[in-house]
Symmetry: C2
Subunit: 500 residues, 2 copies
């Protein structure tokens, strides 16, 4: 075996074990009874140690160095695979074992404390736990920063979206900061006079689930390679050949859950179509979280919240929700489309519409960057949050940390550097849709008929089949040209203000 | 660390990984979409290799030898734990790696072929696969036989019920062979004139599930440490702190599923009450399959199919099944008790009642013992099966191998030596109940009120809390005196013939 072949065998082994970890994680969130927690924790920690050892053994270094001498006959996939292997190995070994153990413990503790203390709006009690985790995370990023020769915050961004850096984010966000406030103002003013009918009724979970299953399959989800279940926080988990998406149901309101299912379906389609030949290898996995979010938001925002898709979805909604609706006049494609494009300033990111969502992300970006660079003490977080929230959306979170700086699980679980991926996802999704429409001019008519075959084919060619061959920007650029905020802003203007 | 402490750490590690394997196995049977199969297979094979390596590393031999010198301060649990560790290590290392790999492959192939070919009643097509597996299994047992200094079939019995041997089985089965045919005859003659009303109706799965959940909790199942789901073949899986039981539902008949749930609950209670302090160590696991079956049959046969339990269960059945029943006259405790004690000669073991069940086991015991000793060619199996079936139950399986020698998954999955555990379970259950009744004379009245606290306390003291401290017979003997067929035969006589 060549060195490269040894590496492939090792990463195949690691991937097979990661798959088990992923299924066990899904099980924990969806199936496990509470009393199974402690022993599950021990099992996952044992598996984690084994995976960690397999990823950091000294012989990997020899194989990586040896493989450098074998690249003259490599194709692009093999070259990219070796690049990814090296990156993973460096990431894994750059963090000292002791720091890593402290981080695992601190993440677990901080997330558990967050669950308890957020409910009690107890920032003071939560602060020391977040402080501890922030310190350790900063130390980790400082270490990685040296190994990869990148600034600290760029290292954090790279952890979730390969190739992203502060300058790119700042450029995009500067544009959004200047354009969005006016746009939000206009959208809200326009919608104020719109007549929307909110569907009233009790919508049984079983009927909502059937509706979700019908539409997720209609847009392309393969039930032979996945499932739909319920969990407290919706997510897309499992493995590429067995994708597990979840949602939650509210008996009084079915639109949020349905759109949530279609959002996760966007993630799932990406996973289900990753290149078969490279599954189990680093280059066969997705191209990072910005691209992943672009796929879920492409499906949710570009396709499923469009006026055309509502034409297609309407008979399904009528069939499964109609019998439970008290005000049947809410049941028109037009009214349903108004419902799924309703904008509102709010405190909670996960409840935000696509017009106000970037404000939530910009706020978090500015804060987490400062925190990683230790620009101001963590104890000021509630004050800073409140000020930025007032500036961006005109809302106060004073004394309401539960719905302010304590609302998200990301920081309490150590995910500093993740948030920009949401808005990059939205911007990339709009840019992809624009490119698709320029190549297939009648794509909206097709969507109106529920004919998404050409949408899937195009996404497959441009994104899904590419695994992590390219960095975030390379991938976008190859598909659509340089990354720009224009398509996203045009999309919002067109959808919400009928402007062209 | 002492050698013994090193062993404890290693077995704790193995157990944590076995727990994951168990949850992944449950997921495969209950949750996984079909398309997830191949990648799940790779994941489980990878995990299996890791567990195998952890269990057979040469340093374990050193630790085991070293630990022998440390036993002077051991308590009984530590001594038994070391004994179990040694047994497991010997079992794992006695089988040559190459043979083991062939066995894993042959089991998988044979079970898959069995699923396809049983449906087609194709014995000729199935024979070569079973032959291959039988040969390899015989070779394995021959190897183990030398290591443990036991006859070949005793080695097979020991694999599933520690301490059991052919002589003990033969003694018990000789008694049953002589007593049961007459008993079956009398029971069937008596029941011929009994008036039983079979409940008619369509019983929704959801209502059946609710009934099952209510009654399994009433007898003591902790939902904080377990779940109830559906699967094609009912089983009890998961881990001691997270026990997953399954059942299947038939819309036209609810009694089988309900009794199945209560049977699996018997298994589950044992697992949920294994000694907390020794979980993760060999001595903390159950005392083998005969004892395990005794716990499920204790719950199902001794407790739940009793006239007294039906008094307690009746209001539950009335509440959840009543609304779906066309002939409400079937709804009396008396009639329901007749239903759950109905006997019938049949071809299928899993459908058999407790009176005819031992005949199915005796047949399989006689055959598998011969097969492991190569007494006659495997190709004669259908003929031998048919002859024994005619002799034991007066039924022919000629040309009906699907419901004859191809009906069970055990041999196709390599489990030669398992079957006697079912009848030992039934016999032990009766003996345990007799002992319990002699110590708590009003136990039947308590059962009639659904007050099972003292049943559980007694089983916990005698069986559950003992882990695998003792062998099958030692455990029974400590709780109730020497193993005997009398309590079982008395139980059948009393329940089915009103004899005392």
């Amino acid at each position: 075996m060549t060195n490269y072949q040894k590496l492939e065998a090792r990463f195949r082994q690691i991937s097979a074990l990661e798959d088990l970890r992923s299924i066990a994680g899904w099980d924990e969130a969806v199936m496990m009874p509470a009393g199974g927690g402690p022993s599950r924790g021990r099992s996952l920690s044992e598996l984690g140690t084994i995976i960690q050892n397999l990823s950091t053994e000294p012989q990997l270094k020899d194989w990586l160095e040896g493989a450098e001498g074998e690249t003259n006959q490599f194709n692009d996939w093999q070259k990219a695979n070796l690049r990814e292997m090296r990156r993973i190995y460096l990431e894994q070994t750059a963090i000292p074992v002791e720091l890593n153990q402290k981080l695992i413990l601190a993440r677990m503790t901080c997330e558990q404390k967050w669950r308890q203390l957020r409910a009690k709006n107890d920032w003071a009690g939560f602060l020391p736990h977040l402080q501890e985790l922030l310190n350790l995370t900063r130390e980790m990023y400082q270490g990685l920063s040296k190994v990869f020769g990148l600034p600290v915050y760029d290292t954090a961004l790279n952890m979730y979206s390969r190739g992203l850096n502060e300058k790119i984010v700042e450029t995009l966000f500067t544009r959004l900061r200047s354009e969005l406030p006016g746009l939000i103002e206009s959208v809200l003013a326009k919608q104020k006079h719109e007549h929307v009918i909110f569907p009233l009724g009790e919508f049984p979970m079983h009927a909502q689930k059937t509706l979700g299953l019908e539409l997720m399959q209609a847009v392309g989800f393969s039930m032979d390679h996945g499932r739909l279940d319920e969990s407290h926080h919706p997510f897309c988990g499992g493995t590429p050949r067995d994708v597990r998406i979840t949602t939650r149901y509210n008996q009084n309101e079915f639109v949020s859950s349905l759109m949530g299912v279609l959002h996760e379906t966007g993630h799932a389609l990406y996973e289900q179509h990753l290149p078969e030949a490279w599954l189990g290898q680093p280059v066969g996995s997705s191209a990072g979280m910005s691209i992943h979010e672009s796929q879920s938001l492409f499906m949710e925002m570009q396709v499923c919240r469009s006026r055309e898709f509502m034409e297609f979805a309407f008979p399904y909604i009528e069939r499964f929700m109609g019998p439970h609706m008290d005000n049947k006049e809410a049941l028109t494609p037009d009214n349903l489309h108004k419902l799924v494009t309703r904008a509102k300033r709010g405190l909670i990111r996960v409840d935000a519409d696509e017009v106000t969502y970037p404000a939530h992300v910009i706020l978090r970006f500015e804060i987490e960057r400062d925190l990683l660079l230790d620009k101001w003490p963590l104890k000021e977080l509630p004050t800073v949050w409140n000020e930025k929230m007032k500036g961006l959306l005109g809302l106060s979170t004073l004394g309401n940390d539960k719905n302010g700086c304590m609302q998200d699980v990301h920081w309490p679980s150590g995910a500093f550097g993740y948030f920009p991926a949401y808005t990059f996802g939205a911007v990339i999704a709009a840019q992809l849709f624009k490119a698709l429409e320029s190549q297939i001019p009648d794509i909206r008519q097709k969507i109106g008929k529920g004919d998404l075959a050409s949408v899937r084919q195009w996404l497959n060619d441009q994104i899904w089949s590419q695994g992590s061959l390219y960095s975030t920007q390379e991938l976008v650029e190859k598909a659509t040209g340089p990354l720009s905020a224009d398509p996203f802003l045009n999309h919002l203007n067109k959808r919400y203000l009928n402007a062209h």
